[in-house]
Amino acid sequence: MNKTGKKSWIAYLYILPMIVLSFVLVYYCIIDTVVVSFTDWDGMTDVFHFVALKNYIKMFKDHVFWTSVVNNLIFFVGTVFIQALLGFVLAVLLKKKLPGSNVFKAIYFMPIAMATSIITAIFRIIMDPTNGALNQFLRAIHLNGFAVNWLGDPKIALVSVIIVNIFQWMGFSMITYYAGLMSLPDDVYEAAKIDGAGFWRTTFSVTLPMLKGTTNVLIILGIVGSLKTFDIVKLLTGGGPGRSTTVMNTYLYEKAFKDFNAGGAASIGVAILIIAMVMSFLQVKFGKED
């Protein structure tokens, strides 16, 4: 074996642990899920039969599945853009080094470090229509019309879930934008100042375009994040009232654990996987451009 051959052999050995881990923990599970999606396995016993595309045909005809897809889409639009906007505004304000900005930075970032189960338990109490702090506050300031049934009204429940999600993840957008802002060169701002640009002009014509890469990454991460949404919905509303907050993952879970239909659940899982792969492709594409 020549010297180059030896070197490449050692290089493969270095990545071997990761390859083995990835295969065992990720790729094997994906392959197994795809196989299960063509069966009528109940998720418990060793007995199953191959049913070809039956699970997929049933899934495409299932109006609950499509409701969950639409809910995922609304969730994505509602969270990603508002989250990015609020994160950007906060990052710009924090960069101004106003008094107490470090304290606020920690406060805004804190929900990310909190478990979703804790956040949802607190919000269930806060959003209680009768005894909850939110409605009591709204009534106290005479905004009775806004004191709604946050988690119990099918027209509002998904919005409430989006609000809680934004509360939890806004700090991530803020810190990402803040890191991006800190890396921008000062001379660009000095040049803008010499040219007479004010705060708004600088923000829209200098800061935002220079943070395009950060925004793209946040949007793509948001898409993938919304596809993975499960815990916050399960713990806040359980997918109800009715089907108003059912997303793909909660529906998959219901199929697997309530209906004992692991084959049907796997077909939903494969659908999520395909959407996630398309999104990952876009992420790579955007990453290359920026």
């Binding site: 083995v20 109940d42 209680d128 009768t130 005894n131 009204d153 099918p154 009715g242």
Partner: protein
């Protein structure tokens, strides 16, 4: 030297990785619950949602005192989470020796993992059939005749826990028995700033339990015929039941936003125990708080104020005003086919179903006994508690039928329909969706 070191590190990392992977797969085959002959020390694993944490320590200590060579390793999980945990454990072959179970669809699903309780009981517990309520045993038997578990407690739906102190304050003279009386009580409670009935309509299970119970008041037995495909879910009695359900929301019987409130802990703790609701919609298993010494209400607002608590059947919602409940085995215990110490396991089952464990549960007012030889022997905390126990037991013993459906997909469709109706949807249209689910099977 540097290259050799790098190569060594790479080899060590690969070896560590391989060991870790092999280690993951090898598993720990030690299963304490499956070791030992009858005279040796045995540990049995037991998973369930009942007994509660409050109850389990005392019950299990008592059993272990009676059977010093048998140790119970008990894991309690809330009911919904319990079934998810159990499903994963059973699928991977790591399930417990004994596990709590409900009748209906869950029992049918898990029967294939459980021993035939009749065969096992015949072997290790002579005369058990004379001691255990035969109706309860029937409910624990699948269609193919397998007894999937031993019944432990019987409970009924729907009951109304009431705060007598608040009723007096609101001028509500008696516990409502008809819908009109309930509506009148709601107006009086609202006038005093209280919620009438705290209900956790965010919970699927209590909604479908209510529907099954209330539909029997409109037409006794129709709901079971519909489940069996012998009649349509769009029949008038079901439309009437859905309309009655809708009125609970539109007439202000339930709290505003009940669809976003769970039964436990929200409706119970934040409304009824917090002294913000006069009534609480629940089942017969919740008779405990009718005693002022109940540990459940200690430290709560109603406990601190010394309010008088009672329980009565839920008011009749049909025009006839008849109050007709449902009942069923609330919890049964199944034995894993892999359990190797069945004799010890059966001793614990006997303790729970016919021994001191059963007596403890019954005295705790957790449910009605399945043992023919056991009845409530606890102290009765005044006339009101006695009346509550008598009225609720009578309601449960005269029940129209089972509390649960055995078809999980129809039950889910019904639950979704009920939440949609509560949110304003048309009852008939929603019932048509339930019928579609039934037709698709």
């Amino acid at each position: 030297m540097k290259k050799r070191w790098k190569r060594c590190m790479a080899l060590i990392m690969a070896a560590v990785m391989a060991t870790a992977v092999v280690g993951c797969g090898s598993g720990d085959n030690k299963d304490s619950g499956t070791q030992g002959a009858s005279n040796e020390d045995v540990t049995l694993t037991f998973w369930s949602w009942l007994p509660t944490n409050d109850q389990s320590e005392e019950m299990i200590n008592e059993f272990e005192k009676e059977n010093p060579n048998i140790h119970i390793d008990y894991t309690r999980t809330e009911q919904d989470d319990f079934f998810e945990k159990l499903q994963v454990a059973m699928a991977s072959g790591t399930g417990p020796d004994l596990y709590g179970m409900t009748t209906g669809s869950m029992m049918n699903q898990y029967a294939k993992f459980s021993v035939d309780m009749k065969e096992t009981a015949d072997q290790y517990w002579s005369g058990w059939e004379d001691k255990i309520n035969s109706n309860a045993v029937d409910q624990c038997t699948t269609e193919d005749g397998t007894m999937a578990g031993m019944p432990l407690l019987v409970a009924g739906m729907t009951t109304l826990m009431y705060n007598k102190t608040l009723m007096d304050e609101c001028g509500i003279d008696k516990v409502p028995t008809t819908y009109d009386e309930l509506k009148d009580a709601a107006a009086k409670a609202k006038a005093k700033g209280y919620v009438c009935v705290a209900a956790g309509a965010a919970d699927d299970w209590i909604n479908s339990d209510w529907f099954i119970q209330a539909s029997n008041e409109f037409e006794n037995g129709a709901v079971y015929e519909a489940e069996a495909g012998k009649r349509k879910w769009t029949d008038q009695c079901f439309v009437d039941t859905m309309n009655a359900w809708k009125k609970m929301f539109t007439d202000g019987i339930f709290e505003d936003g009940a669809l976003g409130v769970s039964t436990y802990p929200d409706a119970r703790d934040q409304y009824f125990f917090a002294r913000k609701a006069v009534f609480f919609m629940t089942g017969s298993w919740h008779l405990g708080p009718t005693s002022s010494s109940s540990s459940e209400i200690q430290g709560t607002e109603i406990g601190n104020k010394g309010d008088v608590i009672g329980m009565e059947p839920f008011p009749g919602v049909s025009d006839s005003g008849e109050q007709l409940g449902t009942s069923g085995v609330d919890v049964m215990v199944s034995m894993n086919k892999d359990c190797k110490n069945k004799e010890a396991a059966m001793k614990f089952i006997q303790f729970l179903a016919d021994g001191d464990g059963q007596q403890y549960w019954v005295n705790y007012l957790q449910g009605a006994p399945v043992s023919n030889d056991i009845s409530y022997t606890g102290t009765v905390d005044g006339e009101l508690q006695q009346q509550s126990i008598d009225d609720v037991n009578k309601y449960v013993s005269n029940a129209a039928g089972s509390r649960k459906l055995s078809n999980s997909e129809i039950e889910t469709a019904l639950q979704v329909a009920m939440q949609n109706v509560a949110a304003g949807a048309d009852p008939l249209k929603e019932l048509q969706n339930v019928q579609k689910t039934a037709d698709a099977q």
